[in-house]
Point group: C2
Chain length 326, copies 2
């Protein structure tokens, strides 16, 4: 199958790497909002085009993977390109998923395309685990923890503080909270009890470090509701020790069964990822395979991971997966 990538940042590059790992796929083209000549990609022999020329390539591509941001890019881009392509995105603004779904569904049905939104790990694999576990244990509690990992939004917030030259923020789940959930204690956890926030900050020369620390710790929405630690490091240390984009997290469902709800069960799913964008891309690429197949079967409209039978994700036949993975 022929894959196109729209947007070549960390996620687009991750998709390029994931396509390379899957023998039944090839990268056909990359589209960028930048000057195509300024964008150097990894795959030899593949052209980079300006996004304004994307429509001309609509018959060359089975699935277009849209690698844009959820805040402003995807709400416009995904419906727009669904006119011409089967598409997949990683829209992750949970509260706006219903609206995005409706917009994309309309265009997909009008144009006979299939679009899968919100692929990745949260939303994505975490959502799947929440759904499966809720269906199996209807009487129970859900818990999601994130980290240890880099939050882009919180790192950006640090960098906007006066006197900060650069910085990185890690979201860290509280170990004792994880243990309480894992032990089936069904704790009620406040924001502060679930996660801590670790900041690594490079201060500008002569900056007031105490003031920076206080400003960060008291920042509403981002840090004020958490136990936050601020560590000052050098630019070299930041580069050496904090240049990766790791992430991960935990999804739990704890529930009861039995005639009198006498038996307890704990379902736990966790991810430990060296590269958040590359793992997200790997999920997206597996779902790209699925929607390509479904489109060939005549399916169209907007879909999410909930609508895709798992067998469609695999390059193997039904016989093979039943024999080796069931």
């Amino acid at each position: 199958m022929k894959v196109g990538i729209l947007g070549y940042g960390n996620l687009g590059r991750g998709v390029e790497c994931a396509v390379k790992q899957n023998d039944d796929m090839e990268l056909t083209a990359v589209f960028t909002r930048r000057n195509p000549e300024d964008v150097k990609i990894l795959t030899p022999g593949v052209n980079v085009y300006n996004v304004k020329d994307v429509e001309a390539h609509k018959d060359e591509i089975d699935v277009l993977i849209i690698c844009g941001g959820s805040a402003t890019d995807l709400p416009k881009m995904t419906p727009e390109y669904t006119k011409y392509f089967n598409v997949i995105d990683s829209f992750d603004t949970h509260a706006k998923i219903p609206e995005h779904f409706a917009n994309v569904d309309k265009v997909a049905k009008e144009n006979g395309h299939i679009a899968l939104i919100s692929a990745g790990w949260d939303p994505g694999m975490f959502s799947l685990n929440r759904l499966y576990a809720n269906c199996i244990l209807p009487q129970g509690n859900d818990y999601t923890f994130w980290g240890k990992g880099v939050s882009q939004g919180h790192s950006d917030a640090i960098r906007r503080v006066e006197g900060v030259k650069d910085g990185k923020q890690y979201t860290v789940p509280v170990e004792s909270a994880l243990e309480a959930v894992r032990n089936g204690e069904n704790p009620e956890l406040t924001t502060r009890q679930k996660h801590t926030r670790e900041c690594f900050v490079v201060a500008e020369e002569g900056a007031d470090k105490e003031k920076i620390t206080e400003t960060i710790k008291n920042m509403p929405n981002y840090f004020a509701d958490y136990d936050t630690t601020v560590n000052f490091i050098t630019e070299e240390e930041l580069k050496k020790d904090h240049s990766g984009i790791p992430h991960g997290g935990f999804v739990f469902r704890t529930g009861v069964t039995g005639w009198n709800n006498e038996n307890k069960h704990v379902i736990e799913y966790s991810l430990k990822l060296d590269s958040n964008p590359e793992f997200t891309s790997s999920v997206i690429v597996a779902y790209a395979r699925a929607i390509n197949r479904l489109h060939k079967e005549g399916v169209n409209g907007c879909k999410t991971v909930f609508d895709i039978a798992p067998a469609y994700l695999s390059p193997l036949s039904g016989d093979e997966i039943r024999a080796h993975l069931l």
Copy 2:
């Protein structure tokens, strides 16, 4: 939807409890090979019939849940009852799944029914996690660990040893092996390195305990390849401390991404279950909902968990699951 249960042991009783937790389901009838008058069920007002009368009830039941053993019952029962009903079973002899699938598929298609085989947690939820993780990380390694939990087969083997009055066996994953996998070390593990076996034995009066211990530890297939501990306890202790049927386990996939496979990822799914049969039943009941819906859409033939889009498991609408679980 109307549910029938065929076979009323631990699993059948677990299905009965799970149906009670799901408001969109009701138990219509229980079928048994025993004298129906000897079988007391929990749900008031529901009749117990002999299994030879099952065909007479074919129009009263949307899905018949077949709660038989994999060794001899299900290979015969599932194809037989697929003639009259949509059915679901928990066939768990992994090596014989392809054969069972083919037999059931033929009957299901001939009779316009849908049959889902091998529902539960392994096969079942563990299989799903193996499939999803293999599709996301095509370059990687799979690990499955079982326990801590009661193995029925190994407990039966203990009880056949001369001088043993009763006994129970626990399969226990080796903590250091779990840690090595979790750390992404990709260890090559022997049978002995993955699991230990803990036996709790009630000896007959005057029995040779040393001989019992040696016989158990050296039993081929069951114990000889494992580090096994044998603990002698009283009948009262066995009843008090070991009457439950807990189980669980861990499925891992560790893999790499990136242009030069430079980033590592660990996906872990684990279950900690107070009651193996009740959890298995809870999975089965969720899939019963799914196949009932699919049958109404005109789908027939044999299916596995791989073929079912997750949304079909939920009593909630697509809008609801997108809004609350994605």
